[in-house]
């Protein structure tokens, strides 16, 4: 990609950051994009972490002890929110993109957020219990 093409790409994507007067669907789209980027970053991190298996058992277990400690709990909770949102909104978008529920898109969005929030609360509770209570 040339510099001019990169500049053009940046300029085009910057159009997405014009928030004024935008509605719920637009914010859902923006968060979908942002959560996708976060998840891609996490994926690379996860693959990088898995390479420790090749280094040795002690290295991998040491890393697990670190990420399962209460220090990393907030990151896990945020990651759950990002992943659950991305999946739930993706499902809503897939349903809508087949022409179903278009007239009730905001209701569908609200339902998705509600179900996602419940799933996120449950997942956060489970991981917090494990991180804080487990030896």
């Amino acid at each position: 990609m040339s510099i001019s093409e990169f500049r053009s790409l940046l300029e085009n994507v910057s159009q997405w950051l014009k928030f004024r007067g935008k509605h719920a669907g637009y914010w859902a789209f923006l968060f979908q994009r942002a959560s996708g980027v976060v998840l891609v970053g996490y994926l690379y991190l996860h693959l990088y972490e898995l390479r420790l298996l090749l280094v040795g058992r002690a290295a991998y277990e040491g890393f697990l002890r670190l990420v399962l400690s209460p220090v990393f709990l907030p990151f896990d909770i945020v990651l759950f929110a990002v992943g659950i949102y991305h999946g739930a909104n993706g499902l809503r978008t897939a349903i809508s993109e087949f022409g179903y529920g278009i007239s009730h898109s905001k209701a569908l969005l609200a339902l998705m957020l509600l179900v996602g929030a419940i799933a996120w609360a449950f997942a956060s509770y489970a991981v917090a219990k494990f991180a804080l209570v487990a030896p």
Partner: protein, 260 residues
């Protein structure tokens, strides 16, 4: 004779002023655009179009803008008012309002944008009825229920507010866009139209319906409720069904959605 109670008619107070900030740009004489604050008398029920006309006719401002019907029918007067695409002929003016040209289109001058981006796209989509057969009787008998879907999309007045609101059009000018796809959907849903398969194929191209991410801003800003997001999703559904039908039949010639 009916006598009206005192103060029953609100009188215009010409001492009140409305301040409007308008985008000004003449590419032939200026390098960069700028904004100018204009003051107009505050009156009851002032439209943005009224302000433009006042500035031009009374104050002699050389403001360039489009207008025609003045009644939300021609789609000429689309502008950005406080960051939201609106039609100037029906939108009420507010104090300290910022008026700009529609985004996602090149500016010709001031509030006039180049509509060719849309015109070129719609012209490739066969924007006319291709009849199944000529009808000999007049009037042509069609039940209202048969045209309900078509009538929704046919309301489109090509005002381009949806194209301005769409972030995909903003980031990729090649995307056909909600306006053209809504017009196309109107013909696809018309029971009199013959060439549905060709239209679906055109809508399924690289820059067609599959570029839409169902953000929904197009439907939010549409002044005539032509439901552009519904139009795109219906086209997408028809395109997918068509593809699956061809797949089942084992058609070797079919190139598939998004593959041409």
């Amino acid at each position: 004779m009916v006598q009206l109670a005192p103060n029953s008619i609100q009188k215009d107070n010409d001492n009140d002023k409305l301040t409007v900030r308008i985008f000004r740009f003449n590419p032939q004489t200026e390098a960069t655009p700028h904004y100018v604050n204009y003051q107009v008398p505050r009156k009851k029920l002032v439209r943005i179009m009224d302000i433009f006309e006042y500035l031009v006719e009374v104050q002699g401002v050389d403001l360039a803008f489009r207008s025609s019907c003045g009644m939300m029918s021609c789609g000429s007067c689309g502008i950005l008012a406080n960051g939201v695409p609106k039609l100037a002929c029906v939108e009420a003016a507010e104090d300290r309002m910022v008026v700009e040209p529609l985004p996602n289109f090149p500016v010709i001058r001031d509030l006039v944008v180049d509509r060719r981006l849309y015109d070129e796209k719609i012209s490739t989509l066969l924007p006319f009825l291709i009849r199944k057969d000529s009808h000999t009787e007049f009037p042509e008998f069609i039940r209202h229920s048969q045209m309900t879907s078509r009538n929704v999309f046919a309301q489109c007045i090509s005002c381009l507010l949806c194209m301005s609101a769409c972030p995909i059009v903003a980031s990729d000018p090649h995307f056909i866009g909600p306006a053209a796809l809504t017009r196309l959907a109107g013909f696809v849903e018309d029971i009199r139209d013959r060439d549905t398969d060709t239209r679906i194929l055109k809508a399924s191209g690289t820059d067609g319906v599959y570029r839409c991410h169902f953000i929904g801003e197009c439907s939010e800003v549409c002044p005539v409720d032509a439901k552009p997001s519904l139009a795109i999703q219906i086209l997408r559904r028809k395109s997918t069904h068509s593809f699956l039908r061809q797949l089942v039949r084992g058609a070797k010639n079919y190139s598939g959605p998004g593959m041409h």
